[in-house]
Amino acid sequence: MKALRHLKRALWIIAFLFVAGNMIRFSVVPESFGQYGDFRGAHLAEERARDPIHRGSDICGECHDERLEEKNNGAHGPIPCENCHFQPYAGDENHPEAHPEVSQSPDRSQRACLTCHQFFPSRPSAFPQLANFPEHIATNALKLNKDHVGAHTLCVHCHNPHDPKIDLKQNG
């Protein structure tokens, strides 16, 4: 069939493009693709490789063992050191080289404590929380130390964050 010559040629070209295209396509599939399923298997190892940043309280205990013990025995026992000692908003330059992100002087403001202990209707009622901060100061702090009464009174003036049960020695 001479009349079909151009059509045949066109079909050959299409067949060639199809085969060549697919050969290229399969040749550039990443090597580990399909190792564990329909994805690049090497990515699992890449994802695992990253170093953890939160390393837990035990590392802190290697140097600050009394502090850690004090915390662990108190009501704040379940809270890891990092919750307060990691600067929540930015890095801190005060801590030794090993943990530049850890701060020795954490946020001591009222906000830091009230983040957990301010009363909200949404908070579980069994959780210790303050419904009225000025009143709390007026009724409790007043009894302890008259110097610290007022808007500038910090929670940490009366409560040791590592062991928050009232300790008069902290008042100095």
Binding site: H6, L7, V29
Partner: protein, 394 residues
């Protein structure tokens, strides 16, 4: 229960923006124009002969540009080919590369065969050697235009048109599937979505052809035939009718089922989409062209009035389809997945996915079409049995 407004914290952004509005719009014009030419080539609607070849060229021009909005949208356009390298077959989007290339091949072949006589003639008569070589390459070294070849071509075009119809439907239906298959989004998630997209694609394709046909034939670039325009307008009316039914059913079911989805959709329609969907898309975009087209069925002799109405109807129908893309793509992202928070979208002028890019990408196919018509004629094939006179290359 009454909810205060609340958006999930990650739901502050509209990720699918103007580019994703433009992409189905351009793709729709391809499918629409192709189906118009198929009406002639496959179903033998002789009235459409004057635009049968031109419609194919319109398709090709838009086809080449269809992927551009997607590339502008991707976070990593340089990795776009990953879609065919490691496609995920459960993803509606993964098929795009394959459906697109298949359809491109079918379309190119069909145009190649439709212009066979011209191509062979140019390969012999072009003035410069480079041009002759170019056309010879396009003709794949074959230089015959015998009756036998014509017969074979006509048959091949028929088969290609036959393959092309489901391909065009798949290409556009699948765009609807991308949206319709997401259960996370009540405004998109409906099995009617592929159908709505396909029908609106046909509406937009026919409307574009009507506008271009009237414009180009008035300047003599295309052969004027009132019957051709009438046929185009009738099919526009028909596809609009089916499109309206589908879209209407969609909303009606949402309303009647009155589930979670309607909670979101009713709020959307009365707030964020009140102007763009209810007033503009339905109020202007559907009512005006459909009324005009319905009246036009009874206009038989007054060609001037008919043509004017056809231009208005087609232009508003095109506008309607663009608005429909907008309302689906943007509207579907104007609420948070919490279903109780809503957000606004204001496109930027100079953004990578902004208004200027959109305008550029919408105009680009027209530029391409102009270039195509510079190398191949717009008018229909001459029907005589004689091969074009051979001129010795000088």
């Amino acid at each position: 229960m009454i909810y205060s407004e609340y958006l999930f914290p990650n739901d502050m952004h509209i990720y699918w923006s103007l580019m994703i509005v433009t992409y189905p719009f351009i793709t729709g014009l391809i499918a629409g124009a192709f189906i118009a030419s198929a009406l002639f080539h496959v179903f033998g609607l002789e009235e459409l002969k004057p635009i049968s070849r031109f419609a194919l060229m319109v398709s090709l021009a838009f086809m080449v540009c269809a992927t551009l909005p997607l590339l502008f949208h991707l976070g990593h356009p340089e990795r776009a080919l990953n879609v065919v390298i490691t496609p995920h077959w459960h993803s509606a989007m993964a098929g795009f590369g394959f459906i697109y290339s298949f359809y491109l091949v079918v379309l190119t072949l069909e145009i190649w065969l439709s212009y066979w006589e011209e191509i062979v003639a140019y390969s012999k008569t072009s003035a410069s050697g480079v041009k002759r070589l170019f056309w010879k390459t396009v003709a794949l070294g074959v230089d015959e235009t015998s009756g036998e070849i014509r017969q074979a071509n006509r048959r091949a075009i028929y088969i290609l048109g036959l393959i092309g119809i489901p391909s065009a439907c798949t290409l556009h239906g699948y765009v609807g599937f991308i949206f319709g298959s997401l259960k996370s989004n009540p405004w998109w998630s409906t099995p009617l979505m592929p159908q709505v997209f396909l029908l609106s694609a046909i509406v937009s394709g026919l409307a574009l052809l009507i506008v271009m046909y009237i414009a180009l034939s008035s300047k003599g670039y295309l052969t004027w035939s009132f019957e051709c325009l009438r046929t185009l307008c009738f099919y526009l009316w028909l596809s609009m009718l089916f499109y309206m039914i589908s879209e209407g059913l969609e909303i009606l079911f949402f309303f009647y089922e009155s589930s979670d989805a309607w909670f979101v959709i009713s709020t959307l329609l009365s707030t964020k989409l009140w102007v763009s969907f209810v007033l503009i898309q339905v109020g202007i975009g559907i009512v005006v062209p459909f009324t005009l087209l319905s009246i036009m069925i009874f206009v038989r002799n007054n060609q001037g009035a008919y043509t004017t109405m056809a231009v208005i109807a087609a232009a508003t129908a095109l506008f309607e389809v663009w608005m429909m893309r907008w309302n689906i793509v943007i509207g579907g992202q104007q609420f948070s997945k919490s279903y109780v928070g809503f957000r606004s979208y204001h496109p930027e002028w100079l953004d990578q996915e902004g208004i200027l890019t959109t305008m550029g990408l919408t105009l680009l196919p027209f530029l391409l079409l102009y270039l195509l018509t510079r190398i191949l004629p717009m008018k229909e094939a001459v029907e005589d049995e004689e091969p074009p006179a051979e001129v010795e290359p000088g």
